[in-house]
């Protein structure tokens, strides 16, 4: 049962990722990105990581996709629609490089890992309590760093957006 869902959701996520990078209109890319995040969230759920799956749905689909769609809405949509894939840098080079990268990544998975069957999972595997206990005991400094990072990103987004506006007005 688990394996069938892994197969279906994995193939769905790869297909939707390919559709994201191959569309010209970024609105379609954002919508396929939503499908991609939903399928990866399903994979997380079928791996037992229920808290991470729900967080993935909230953050990515609820916040990041909406942010992308807002920015697409603020830009000039007619300008975006007539963007063509430029002929200057052919996609063939990128395809060759990314296929080589995929080959490199497959080598350690094929040779280096024992064919793993899972250890005995604890009863509360993947729950918020199980994650939070280890996270707050072992990584308190990283949590503080993440909060500082989020605040810096907030202030930086304000500053960068205002700089662009000033350059337009002057």
């Amino acid at each position: 049962m688990y394996e069938i869902m892994w197969l279906i959701l994995g193939i769905l996520s790869v297909i939707s990722a390919i559709l994201v990078v191959s569309r010209i209109n970024p609105v379609y890319s954002a919508l396929y990105l939503m499908l991609f995040f939903a399928s990866v969230s399903g994979l997380f759920a079928f791996l037992g990581a229920s808290f991470v799956a729900v967080t993935q749905l909230f953050i990515y689909i609820g916040a990041i996709i909406v942010l992308f769609l807002f920015v697409i809405m603020m830009l000039n949509f007619e300008e975006l629609k007539k963007l063509q894939r430029p002929p200057l840098f052919s996609p063939l080079k990128g395809l060759i490089l990314s296929l080589a990268l995929f080959g490199l990544l497959c080598v350690p998975i094929y040779f280096g890992l024992p064919s793993a069957h899972p250890r005995h999972l604890p009863a509360d595997f993947g729950s918020a309590k199980w994650i939070a206990r280890d996270m707050y005991i072992q990584y308190p400094f990283a949590i503080e760093l993440a909060s500082v990072l989020i605040i810096a990103a907030l202030a930086g987004a304000f500053v960068i957006a205002r700089i662009g506006k000033k350059a337009k007005n002057s």
Binding site: I18, L33, V52, I59, I72, I131, D134, A153
Partner: protein
């Protein structure tokens, strides 16, 4: 089916994101490709967490989500400023520092 299949899926997602970063001229799709790369790594980490019944993988995924949220906010602010300057979002308009 062994969970190594999911590690191959994670590697494929990372490679697809790399292809998008290398070949897309639209900066919006380029940011989306970076999100695809981060999600591929997250999938590998959750798979390892399932294989070894260890919580470190899922904790790292939560930190990756924090970084991805900040990165999307900053990246989209940069895209807005770039669009105001150049009236376009194509990367070949970014030639201010070209020698």
């Amino acid at each position: 089916m062994s969970p190594n299949f999911l590690l191959y899926i994670g590697a494929a997602l990372f490679s697809i994101g790399t292809f998008g970063v290398l070949s897309c001229r639209n900066t919006l799709i380029l940011l989306m490709s970076i999100e695809i790369m981060l999600t591929g790594v997250s999938l590998s980490l959750v798979t390892f967490s399932w294989i070894w019944a260890n919580s470190a993988g899922q904790i790292f995924v939560i930190f990756i989500m924090a970084v991805a949220a900040g990165e999307a906010a900053i990246g989209l602010a940069i895209i807005m400023a770039f669009y105001r300057l150049h009236k376009s979002v194509q990367t070949d308009k970014a030639e201010l520092m070209k020698g």
